[in-house]
């Protein structure tokens, strides 16, 4: 049977990934390194008390609290389901990425060394991830995971639960606001029409008054013209 190097490469790289994660988890003395996101660390918020609930140890310590507090138990359950749903996506992408890298290396014989195989794997993984990340199912799952994490933290007493507005109250407030708006609009229309008739009356009065005034004014004006003419010195 011919030797396929990708078997060895994959095994080695899988172990290497694990090593990098362990190194990071252990907080190894490498100030230059930022947190390496791994399987469990993905989307984890470091500074929340319930964030590492995904670990078996943490679950064990919190078990008593879950049993005695339905709210905590419910929040933990929601969190765990959301976390697992994301994990399913992630494992699926990861598995397919290895397959794609192997197919790529066999078809194009590009895997002449481990580095090439590694780069193929990264490219395949990113491409698969990009496809998945924009789907509604995946996006909703990320949103659910964040919401579940927040709920879990709130259940454990972190922060303040915002005042929850009952949708029925909101609907009643909206109906009331719409009724008030309709009333204001009808009042505005009435006001406008009153204003219109008032200004119409004023216009006709003004016209009548203006007619009378105009004849007086014309007369006065002719008078002054005459007066001017009269006053102009003779050349």
């Amino acid at each position: 049977m011919p030797h396929d190097p990708t078997d060895q490469y994959q095994d080695f790289l899988f172990e290497l990934e694990k090593y990098l994660r362990q190194m990071n988890d252990a907080g190894i003395d490498m100030p230059a390194f930022s947190q390496l996101p791994g399987w469990r660390e993905w989307l984890k918020v470091d500074n929340d008390p319930a964030g590492n609930i995904a670990s078996t140890e943490k679950l064990e310590t919190l078990k008593a609290q879950f049993l005695n507090d339905p709210a905590k138990s419910e929040a933990a359950s929601r969190y765990w389901h959301a976390f697992q749903a994301l994990q399913v996506h992630w494992i699926d992408i990861s598995t397919k990425s290895w397959d794609a890298a192997r197919v790529q290396s066999i078809e194009t014989s590009s895997a002449t060394n481990i580095r090439q195989f590694y780069d193929d794997w990264i490219e395949a993984g990113e491409a698969l991830f990009r496809e998945r990340a924009v789907t509604k199912a995946y996006a909703d799952q990320v949103g659910e995971w964040i919401n579940a994490q927040v709920d879990l933290n709130l259940a454990f007493g972190m922060g303040e639960v915002p005042v929850c507005v009952d949708p029925r109250d909101l609907k009643a407030a909206l109906t009331e606001a719409e009724a008030r708006e309709a009333q204001l609009r009808s009042e505005l229309e009435a006001l406008k029409s009153r204003q219109k008739s008032k200004s119409a009356r004023a216009t006709s009065k003004k016209k009548a008054h203006s007619k009378a005034g105009q004849s007086t004014k014309t007369k006065a004006s002719s008078k002054s013209k005459i007066a001017l003419k009269k006053s102009r010195p003779k050349s």
Binding site: P5, L20, M30, L36, W42, V45, I114, E126
Partner: protein
Amino acid sequence: MTSARKTAEDIKTFTEKLSHSLSQIRQIDDAAPGTSPHETVLTGDGFRLLRYGTDQTHDKKPAVLIVYALVNRPWVLDLEPKRSMIARLLERGMDVFLIEWLDPEPQDKDRSLSAYIALMIDQCVDAVNTARRTSRLNLLGVCQGGTLSLCYAALFPKKVKNLITMVTPVDFQTEDNVLSQWVREVDLDRLVGCYGNVPGALLNTLFVSLQPFRLGSKKYIDLIDLADNPAGLKTFARMEKWIADSPDQAGTAFNEFVGNLYQRNALIKDKFVVDNQIVNLSKIRCPVLNIYALADHLVPASASKALANYVGCDDYSELTFDGGHIGIYVSRQAQQSIPASIARWILARS
């Protein structure tokens, strides 16, 4: 086919090289970024205004006020002497100012976007204009800071001479905007209620999760290429430090930004309210230069390009960069082209 022995040797060499690089990077203890000389010209509630350079004649040069994002540190623009957009702008004859946002304290959780835009940016603009005895300046908004700058320019059009936006989201709901789709269903009221100020670590993890293979693994393996390259390792260490150093976000401002923009796309619908006024982008009449990266995974080019449809100016130009969101700040290619283009564009309009 390669023989089993050759494969084993290949793996051994790979491991040795990686170990060598890792041992070298462990020895880097000082990866402090931010190298260009500067002074603080104004300190306010939540910000510091910095002026770069030591040139005493800088009053005679065009002033550029950089508004950076709230979600990362601005020193990626001044990472090290050879990778510093700020240094390149100074070399091109600009008088560079930068707003450095200060971390919100727990009591700042109710700080709003109006405070950032209509108070803090406005104070900085006034301070720059006062220092230079001018009435208008060039505003350069970067990433989220570009969105804040657009709002400012629409609300205070008389104070902005030219506007440059760089990798700036405008249409927050284009199909390829992954981040936008991820946060669409997040209950922001509960999130902010839970955390107060939103932890930078949460955002950082989300950003890294956008490219989990590349950012979570590849870059560490790529260290092999940097073995015996101390300068390259130091740059790597500085970048790592920058990526990991995400400040917390004032709760209310975060809620407004994500809720109104990512979830409701209010800016392009003329429904985004800042300081009790609707932000109307058509009120931006000054010349606009819109710079975006073609392979940006965080702010897709489509999100930035949309600006052309909404600003009200006649003098609108675009500059594209063939790279990603980080590369546009620090890559050699960007260092050579972006600051020079910005300076040329400003000088032509000064």
